[in-house]
């Protein structure tokens, strides 16, 4: 029969092959994203626990993980939310922490420009630090960056992140004495770990030193929460005024724990 109609046979084969390629690409992506999922799981749970501790409901914690999907900024939101400051300042602070995505987005745009627009829109939603790092690595290795592969990486990180946040929030309600288990001081540890993870970036030390000094002064004069924006602005202004001469490749080293 195939001899009688070679063309349709070939088309069917091509479609079949295409489908299996898409599936295998997806699962290849899942394998790449899996370690990130494992490493970020405790932080998703932690986010949920701290969220309810700071007055979020369980569904609000889940909502935030589902629609923001950016660990460090979610924690920053919680930290400020706990201090009962103006809502718009919380939003601006989250925005500031996430602003680095602009650079990833610009870099990824070159790689995914051939995808249909809706696929691009979905792809950018999942653009986290580890997602960027993995995609960039794959593209640089000369392999084609397919939508299926990208979704495999992204979804194995995204779906558990949302579920684990909900679990953390649900069981966080059951913790009787948050202070005894150090709940109030877990975020500073986490933030310090993140700060240290950027230490290989050129010009890191002066930026951190200036931001630290200025934020402490602002904290004791202007007061919270302005020390965040004032301290950060000082560090960023320094970096812009004295850009590090070594042009580094954009590499989110060390941030892989964080979607």
């Amino acid at each position: 029969m195939s001899r009688l109609n070679p063309e349709s046979q070939m088309t069917a084969e091509a479609i079949e092959e295409n489908r299996s390629t898409t599936a295998s690409e997806f699962w290849a992506g899942v394998r790449v994203g899996f370690p990130v999922m494992v490493a970020s799981a405790p932080f998703a749970v932690l986010f949920g626990v701290i969220a309810v501790d700071n007055g979020f409901s369980v569904w609000e914690a889940v909502l935030m993980s589902a629609v923001v999907f950016a660990g460090a900024s979610q924690m920053v939101g919680l930290e400020l939310f706990g201090q009962n400051i103006a809502p718009w300042l919380v939003v601006v602070s989250i925005f500031a922490v996430n602003f680095r995505h602009v650079l990833y987005s610009a870099a990824m745009g070159r790689r995914v420009g051939h995808w249909p627009v809706l696929q691009q829109a979905a792809g950018f939603f999942l653009l986290t630090d580890p997602q960027y790092a993995e995609a960039e690595m794959r593209a640089e290795a000369g392999e084609k960056l397919t939508f299926a592969w990208y979704m495999g990486v992204g979804l194995i990180i995204y779906v558990p992140w949302v579920i684990e946040s909900g679990l953390g929030a649900y069981f966080g309600n059951l913790i009787p004495d948050p202070h005894a288990i150090g709940m109030d001081f877990l975020l500073p540890i986490y933030f310090l770990g993140l700060v240290m993870s950027f230490r290989k970036r050129a010009g890191w030390l002066p930026v951190v030193a200036i931001s630290a000094a200025v934020s402490i002064v602002a904290f004791n004069t202007v007061g919270s929460p302005w020390h965040v924006s004032i301290g950060a602005a000082a560090g960023v202004a320094y970096a812009a005024m004295f850009p590090p001469r070594v042009r580094e490749k954009l590499a989110p080293e060390g941030e892989v724990i964080e979607p």
Partner: protein, 98 residues
Amino acid sequence: MSTTAWIILWAAALTYLTRVGGHLVLSRFATVHPRVEAGLNAVPAAVLTTLVAPVALTAGPVEWATLIVAALMSLRFGMLALFLVSAAVLVAGRQLLG
């Protein structure tokens, strides 16, 4: 809808903007000015530092010890090990001293 939900939705919209905006805006320019790039690169470390420094200064000895352990751990280990060990130090310290 609660204020919290509004904060979350606005944060989500602006976060999506950062993820799609680089492609839509920044990629129209052939090159990004080195000062702009250096400034953008410095943002996360700068913001996160301001969330640690004042808190660290006003904390007690157990918290200081915890942060020192965390900083030392970061030189050698990944985020997860750093976090678990530091949290253990914090909890143990508070049980013993506080």
